[in-house]
């Protein structure tokens, strides 16, 4: 654009300043985890590794982390299977109510989390008569994770078209052979991106989880939230928060390892 040099410099300065503001709180979390003081007073006076030791021994945090990982893994797996099947069905076959289905899949993520949360809570308890527990968390998470897989797979299928599969069928391969040897390899990176997003979404989710978790199960976000307002636990929460900030580099790193087109997929869905 024909912007004057001054205007360009202004835009750059604004962008850089915004980025500084975006990253400051995250850095603050990491710095605080080393601070001796239990309050957020700035600047911190003394540093220590003591809280990291305390946190590593914290039973509650470790158990919550384990529950979170399990939930996210199972929910991601379910979402991968169902999301792929839904995308394939919508792409390859034309049937009654096709457009409604694609809207339906997006709905759990378009509505505020609290609505999804109490709707599922109500359904699990009164309609199905289930007790809230591990299973209900997984079902709830899978419900809103499907959309990320669905979006990625559908975008990929639309780009590929059906020619290769038709060729495979013409050459005598059955439906499953075609899927195993042709469709699946073409979808692999889209599935990886969708699965990564689903895992991240499930690992981080708190609102829907609050309404679908039983009293025994605590996922990590719920554990953090429950301990947030306890001054005694503040140092441990600081460390857990710092670990989560540092761990958020991993998915970005994986996304970069994938080809450029799939990292686009990582930005598309919520």
């Amino acid at each position: 654009m024909t912007l004057s040099r001054g205007a360009r410099a202004l835009l750059l300065a604004f962008t850089l300043m915004a980025l500084v503001v975006v990253y400051t709180p995250l850095l603050l979390v990491i710095v605080n985890s080393f601070s001796v003081s239990r309050t957020f007073a700035w600047p911190p006076t003394e540093f220590t590794l003591q809280w990291w030791e305390v946190a590593a021994r914290s039973q509650g945090a470790r158990e919550a982390l384990w529950v979170s990982v399990q939930v996210a893994l199972v929910a991601t797996f379910v979402a991968l299977v169902l999301g792929t099947m839904a995308a394939l069905a919508l792409q390859r076959f034309h049937f009654f109510g096709r457009n409604t289905v694609s809207l339906l899949i997006i709905l759990p993520i378009a509505l505020p989390g609290i609505v999804t949360g109490i709707a599922l809570n109500n359904a699990f308890r009164t309609i199905f008569g289930w007790d809230l527990g591990f299973l209900t968390i997984v079902v709830a998470h899978a419900t809103f994770c499907i959309v990320t897989v669905f979006n990625n797979v559908q975008a990929r299928l639309r780009r590929l078209g059906g020619n290769l599969e038709e060729a495979s069928m013409d050459l005598g391969a059955g439906t499953f052979t075609t899927f195993r040897l042709v469709t699946f390899p073409m979808l692999r990176s889209a599935l990886l991106a969708g699965g990564l997003l689903a895992f991240g979404l499930s690992f981080d989710e708190i609102i829907v989880t609050t309404f679908t978790a039983g009293a025994q199960q605590q996922t990590l976000p719920i554990w953090i939230f429950n301990n947030l307002f306890r001054p005694n636990q503040a140092p441990v929460v600081n460390v857990v928060a710092a670990v989560l900030v540092i761990a958020s580099i991993i998915p970005i790193w994986i996304a970069q390892r994938l080809s450029g087109s799939t990292s686009e997929g990582l930005t598309g869905a919520r």
């Binding site: 912007l3 962008t15 503001v21 979390v29 981080d204 939230f225």
Partner: protein, 263 residues
């Protein structure tokens, strides 16, 4: 295969049926009698009206703040930066999304606390941290949802052909004029697409307001309290229909601008 979809829609439908049921005030049992009492309470009791308006105002302000911050950044990314810088900036904008929502809200609790970083920075200017309250809630929510605004606007601006901008300046328009008459109208659907996210996410939030909002309540808190402590599911369901209806109206209006293709 569509079991989940059906179950989810069924769950939503059941929720709205519940909102029309009454509750026995003595035993707390849900009575399956049809009544509009829950909605009447929602609209006539002063507290709930205030909370509804407050929630809408907060969501609207968060959206405006995000749009104002996101537009210059997206403009720089899409039209000024070199492809290499562009790629780096996209990563820089996306990375905070992977950091936990809760951790980011918690980080702002630290930022805004008494003697925290914000008051330390503001002190030389004779200012102080806004402390916990509605201002803090708006700052935190705007911070949380900023990437959801930047990315669609960036994508929208990137699709805008350079030739249009060149044509405008060839025809004698100044940069500011081009921005107002060409770039902004073309980017508007993308901004609305971003607003769908920021508005919807802010409206349903009750966690951030608990963490940095002091004693203030939003609609989400009312729902949460009625499901948990008060155990009045019908009323909670009635309250929860408010964001759904607002969102449907919003989506209907957004469709007219062509924003849904920008999602």
């Amino acid at each position: 295969m569509l079991w989940l979809g059906v179950a989810y829609l069924g769950a939503l439908a059941a929720l709205f049926l519940t909102s029309l049921w009454g509750q026995n005030s003595f035993t707390g049992e849900i009575e399956r009698t049809w009544t509009l009492d829950n909605f009447r309470d929602l609209f006539t009791i002063e507290v709930y009206r205030t909370i509804t308006w407050r929630t809408l105002a907060v969501a609207a302000l968060v959206t405006v703040v995000d749009a104002l911050i996101a537009f210059p950044i997206a403009l720089y990314m899409a039209k000024v930066a070199s492809p290499r810088v562009q790629r780096l900036l996209v990563i820089a904008v996306l990375m905070p999304l992977w950091a936990s929502y809760l951790v980011k809200a918690y980080a702002w609790r630290g930022m805004l606390s008494e003697n925290g970083l914000v008051s330390w920075v503001a002190a030389p200017f004779g200012l102080d941290s806004p402390g916990y309250g509605l201002t803090a809630t708006i700052i935190t929510l705007a911070y949380l949802w900023l990437p959801y605004m930047i990315i669609p606007v960036y994508a929208g601006l990137e699709r805008l052909p350079d030739s249009l901008i060149e044509a405008s300046s060839d025809l004698g328009a100044s940069a500011a004029h081009t921005l107002r008459r060409v770039v902004l109208p073309m980017a508007f659907p993308a901004i609305v697409a971003g607003a769908i996210f920021t508005f919807s996410l802010s409206m349903g939030d009750y966690i951030a307001v608990r963490i940095v909002g002091g004693a203030n309540q939003m609609l989400g808190n009312v729902v949460y309290d009625n499901v948990g402590a008060a155990n009045n599911l019908p009323f909670a369901a009635a309250v929860a229909t408010v964001p759904v209806v607002v969102m449907l109206v919003f989506l209907g209006a957004a469709r007219r601008t062509g924003a849904l293709e920008n999602l």
